[in-house]
């Protein structure tokens, strides 16, 4: 199953890094959408079918935590798989994020780290288990 993915980060460079890492992760990808803040992300979700959102926390206009709350409150998107991708290192803050039913990936991250987080968050079976892997566990970090 190819996943339609939304990448939400106010940094264009970080969006590019996340998308590059997604392609290296070996996860089957469909459409990839980008948004530079929470409000833009809500518009994308309103107009498109998205299977997975990768969300930064600190953003202008509508930050990642408020975006997650809005997504969860909307019956149309309440079940969306979400991974927070952040520099946040505080265990307290990470626990707060995870209490919202989302996974967490710390920057910098490897394609394999992202892959495992996606598989856990979406419940998609890792078809690569029985085939040759394009990405090793010791791959580059991003």
């Amino acid at each position: 199953m190819a996943l339609n993915v939304l990448v939400v980060d106010d940094s264009a460079v970080m969006r590019a890094i996340v998308i590059k890492t997604l392609h290296l992760s070996g996860v089957a990808l469909g459409q990839i959408y980008e948004a530079k803040d929470g409000e833009e992300a809500l518009r994308v979700l309103d107009e498109n079918w998205v299977d997975l959102a990768l969300i930064d926390i600190n953003m202008p206009v509508l930050d990642g935590m408020d975006l997650i709350d809005r997504v969860r409150q909307n019956p149309e998107t309440s079940d969306l798989s979400i991974i927070v991708v952040s520099t946040e290192s505080s265990e307290t803050r990470i626990e707060n994020v995870q209490r919202k039913g989302v996974a967490f990936v710390h920057k910098p991250f490897t394609p394999e780290t992202l892959r495992q987080a996606i598989l856990r968050a979406t419940g998609v079976i890792d078809e690569r288990q029985d085939s040759k892997s394009p990405v090793s566990g010791g791959g580059f970090d991003f």
Binding site: V13, K20, N58, T87, S89, S90, E91, F140, F142
Partner: protein, 155 residues
């Protein structure tokens, strides 16, 4: 200068340049790196158990290479994206550094990273010296990292 903080700052910076920018950081600077001129400055302010600012100063033409590597491009991106890359580097170094100084449970609020204007004071309070300052050799240039902490922990 606080040596313990300087070591933690160097570790956070080296990890970030290595893993995000595919560069090989060095603490022993050759003359070319040592005397490289400043190209760009970025900073991130933070509040929490400690309040302060991390300044990242890129020297010797390193920033265009770093930005291209981060984005997976062969050619350097436009200036706007180079500044964006510098901000992200500052943000990630700071995000990794602060819990290592204050403890994993502590919560910090990091402001949006930004480019600094030429001639802008490194820290808003005049006369404030950095709590820790390190230089990281990168290719033919270097990155200077200056950490300003209010109420800095003692050695």
């Amino acid at each position: 200068m606080n040596d313990k903080i300087a070591k933690a700052l160097y570790r956070a910076a080296a990890l970030t340049f290595e893993e995000l920018g595919f560069m090989f950081p060095s603490s022993d600077l050759d003359p070319l790196q040592k005397y490289a001129s400043v190209d760009a400055l970025g900073c991130v302010d933070f509040e929490g158990p400690y309040t302060g600012r991390l300044v990242v100063r890129m020297c010797g033409g390193v920033l265009p290479v770093l930005a291209a590597n981060m984005m997976g491009e062969l050619e350097p991106p436009e200036q706007r994206l180079q500044r964006d890359a510098l901000g992200e580097v500052a943000n990630i170094i700071c995000g990794n550094l602060l819990p290592s100084l204050a403890g994993a449970k502590e919560v910090f609020q990091l402001k949006t990273p930004r480019a600094m204007a030429a001639g802008e004071p490194l820290f808003p309070v005049p006369g404030t010296k950095p709590t820790a300052e390190v230089q990281v050799g990168l290719e033919e240039g270097r990155a200077d990292l200056l950490l300003f902490l209010i109420d800095a922990p003692q050695e």
